[in-house]
Amino acid sequence: MIEAINQVLNGLQLGLVYALIALGYTMVYGIIRLINFAHGDVFMVGAFIAFISTVNWHLPFYIAVPLSMLICAALGVIIERLAYRPLRYAARIAALISAIGVSLLIEYGGSLKFVFGPNYRVVPQPFSVVQWDLSGISVSNIQVIVLVTVVILLAGLQYLVARTKTGKAMRAVSFDHDAARLMGINVDAIISYTFALGSALAAAGGVLYSVAYPQINPFMGIMPGLKAFTAAVLGGIGSIPGAMLGALIMGQVDVLSAAYISSQLRDAIAFTILILVLLVKPSGLLGKTGPEKV
């Protein structure tokens, strides 16, 4: 029983990081109906910028994190401006192919020696690991930090989307671009804003991921990106609470299938879920049912 609780905690830690990535997928999808495949790579860039700014520039960790979020936000806006905006009214598949292209560009561009380099880097821990033992249940300070950071970021996001004027504009754009434009909303600016927000969250996810699993390389974003994408689909793509729920479930699926079914099958099980959701309930757990626009 105690082991099961420990495993659930392991899954929670992973699920929370997936949540930060899944939110970016779902927000972008909600607003322009595009699956931004470069999102997992923005996550990687976030981890690398935090690494470079702490190791090479000797910045303290609490500055490195916002800096990496800021740079990734800018990166997200640039990607949108260059790769997606020109294709906004083209066929859906064109933007999707463009997204895959951007993803490969960031991965292989990042592997170049004068960018990040192809090597694996060991991330120095910004704080020493403390392990608490509560009658058999072990909790580490990393788990607590991941939990607190994610909760703060999510609360902030919820506030932005639900309570601010920009958030209201975002929701309006996600309903109908043209109607929103008629109401005087600058749709392009709102879309850029959404990309910035999603990318900043992915960067935070990248940093937390590299603290929890301290090794980074330019291809590290692929697997978490795919898992988070699965989470977003599972929760109902386009829905923010759905992405959250989906990510927490994916974290548990990942860890529990490795623990109790087979560590060799964990990825297979995760992606079987993706296929099943797409076959059985494409709108996901919390997604809107109704005619699909795609």
Binding site: E3, N6, Q7, N10, G11, Q13, L14, K113, G117, P118, N119, Y120, V122, V129, Q131, D133, S138, S140, I142, A212, Y213, P214, Q215, N217, F219, M220, I222, M223, D254, V255, L256, A258, A259, S263, Q264, R266, D267
Partner: protein, 385 residues
């Protein structure tokens, strides 16, 4: 229309002799031995590749051959071609094909890891090019499906031996009774080591309480490690490369696993996390503390050139390169057939222990056990086969 046609004729007239001439140029150095060298200079095991390159270049330099200008072994002119495989299977096969088809090499030294080397042996054996790997320890490098690949050789011992030595050391010296094993399901090297470790450990009366596989891209081992923490084994056997091992080791300690870490030659890197792996042991090919003069002379020369103590990878690359050089010296020819025969039969006095190949092209030699202690590798014991 006329002028382009004339230009086309002129172009052809110029090109044909050029092609013919380049053919002549290739034909002129029929006696030249062209040696390819494949190693991972970037990617997840780049320190392996760098050390290997250092050992290779040092041996070549001592024979009067440089990467830029080439040189001579006896009467045989030598040219070198160095390629990076990034420890990637596809890339390894690509550069091997390129070396054979474009550079027309007769011999290849490389690669470093078994997973890249095994597919390359297929290419070299099809093309009848001698391949000599310094550190690929999987049995499949020289023998596949019970068939000897006649052009493949190596300078290192093989996984069964390494896994067995690790198990014996755990049982006899560490008095271990239980062990857990974690290995990469897609890497022949770690699969081999863990299988033979398990076999020998259980034969010697030990118990393997858990054996789990992971995927190469995995970074989260929390699930499996939580289970292992509950089982409290004496040994956690981690036969992967230094990066992965450091990552697993760190998470294992966070999960409260107190087991002694044990591993194979994949740990031999300055980028291993010495703090996390402190107290762990690994089987290796050589120790710089070995007093034999051949070892100390090599260390001195290596230090003078690179300013650091050579690791096992540099040493084996040095040995492998010298094996090739002495085989060529013996036959005085660049014919892969003759070099192959010489490599199969000769006894070679190497830094990492005397090398005599068995019928399967696998050297019979001793292993060293090293411990990670206070940020250094400490020599513990030598185990003979």
């Amino acid at each position: 229309m006329r002028i382009p046609r004339i230009m086309a004729i002129v172009a052809i007239a110029v090109l044909i002799p050029a092609v013919a001439l380049s053919g002549c140029a290739g034909g002129k150095d029929k006696t030249t031995l062209r040696v390819g060298f494949i190693t991972p200079l970037t990617g997840d095991v780049k320190t392996f590749g760098e050390s290997t390159k250092n050992g290779f270049l040092l041996a070549m330099e001592q024979a009067g051959i440089t990467a830029e200008k080439g040189g001579k072994i006896g009467n045989v002119p030598v040219k070198l071609f160095i390629q990076d495989d990034r420890n990637d299977v596809t890339e390894g096969v690509n550069v091997a094909t390129k070396l054979i088809n474009e550079n027309k090499v007769q011999a290849i030294i490389g690669s470093v890891t078994s997973k890249v080397t095994i597919p390359i042996t297929k290419v070299t054996n099809d093309a009848k090019v001698v391949q000599l790997t310094s550190t690929a320890t999987s049995p499949k490098v020289t023998v596949e499906d019970g068939k000897r690949k006649p052009y493949a050789f190596r300078a290192c011992f093989i996984d069964p031996f390494q896994g067995t030595v690790g198990a014996k050391f755990a049982l006899n010296n560490l008095k271990a009774k239980t062990a857990a094993i974690l290995y990469d399901q897609s890497n022949d090297y770690t699969i081999g080591l863990s299988q033979y470790f398990k076999e020998a450990f259980e034969k010697g009366g030990g118990k393997v309480v858990q054996m789990s596989a992971y995927a190469t891209a995995d970074v989260d081992f929390s699930a499996v490690l939580t289970q292992i923490a509950k089982l409290k084994p004496d040994i956690l056997y981690l036969p992967d490369y230094y990066q992965k091992v450091s990552l697993i080791g760190k998470q294992a300690r966070v999960k409260g696993i107190k087991a002694t870490f044990l591993g194979g030659d994949g740990w031999d890197s300055g980028e291993l996390d010495f703090k996390v792996m402190d107290g762990g042991y690994f089987t290796n090919h050589y120790s710089p503390d070995d007093p034999r003069p051949i070892v100390q002379d090599f260390i001195k020369a290596y230090k003078a050139k690179y300013g650091s103590v050579p690791d096992a990878l540099a040493t084996l690359a040095y040995d492998a390169t010298n094996m090739l050089i002495s085989a060529v010296k013996q036959v005085q020819s660049n014919d892969p057939e003759k070099i192959r025969e010489a490599l199969g039969t000769m006894t070679f006095n190497a830094v990492s222990g005397d090398i005599k190949n068995d019928a399967n092209g696998n050297p019979i030699k001793a292993a060293a056990i090293l411990q990670i202690k206070d940020g250094k590798q400490k020599y513990v014991a030598t185990v003979s086969p």
